[in-house]
Amino acid sequence: MQNEQVSLQSMRGDKVAIISCAGMDKALGSVARACAFKVVERLRPNETLLICIPPLVADVKPYSELIKKYPVILIDGCAERCATKIAAKNGAKLRGRVFIPQSVQKHGLKPNTASDIGPEGEELAEKIAEEIAVQIDKLLGK
């Protein structure tokens, strides 16, 4: 049912796909995830699709098709760059990338833990989400 929802959404006009690392054992992974939700649920809900990483590797449709069809913005939580590796391997149209450790340095905000990113982590996620929203607008020519 969720797959059908994604397919229907994607038919309604220009979209940007967001792929976030969702790393489990680092606070920066939780920040990546928080950014993705802020963009997709609040800042640009009608212009974005959130692509879940695990089904991509399992080649579950329509995820694997959507990342080839729409421009993709990646959010990597750490130097392992899992989102980038998986997206590239699956033929995504990569058009933008956020590297959370760089954003930590840029904004001088440090998240707390993987379970609770804390107020600084929330503020950091908000700032990065706003930057991603600007990238989305550019990609969609707005």
Partner: protein, 138 residues
């Protein structure tokens, strides 16, 4: 990564698509931090899938429990594909059927009801951990 004996790896899907993915993530952290901190480690599924050799080596040597949000069972499938079959799989959407009054709606942050669900899932994971370690130690 330092390999240790008497450990179980918990691999959760952490999927962003559904609230159940968030519950899988929170439940796993509850196990790691509160319920069975000495007996468990988590393996990062994206890293595992992207080719993290340490994660894959751990899962080849030590027992793993997959915690999946939905019936796609991506954590189980990924673990099986790259390391070996998990000793158990817990599917959040299946656990939720036991608690029909508890609903999950949010993907970003869980409310108190959803946290209650996450704790139920965490307790099931902890039970499995105990079973696995009991068998391993016999």
């Amino acid at each position: 990564m330092t390999l240790a004996t008497g450990k179980v790896g918990v691999i959760c899907c952490s999927g962003e698509d559904l609230p159940e993915g968030t519950i899988s993530r929170v439940a796993t952290r509850l196990v790691l931090e509160k319920l069975r901190p000495e007996e468990t480690v988590t393996l990062c599924l994206p890293l595992f899938l992207a080719g993290g050799e340490d994660e894959r080596a751990f899962a080849r040597v030590f027992p793993t429990i997959a915690v999946d949000g939905c019936s796609k069972k991506c954590a189980e499938a990924g673990t099986r594909r790259f390391s070996g079959k998990p000793v158990a799989t817990i599917v959040v959407s299946e656990v939720m059927k036991k608690y029909p009054k508890l609903k999950a709606k949010s993907r970003e942050k869980l409310n108190s009801e959803e946290m209650g669900l996450a704790m139920r899932v965490a307790e099931e994971i902890a039970e499995k951990v105990d079973e696995v370690l009991c068998k391993t130690n016999k």
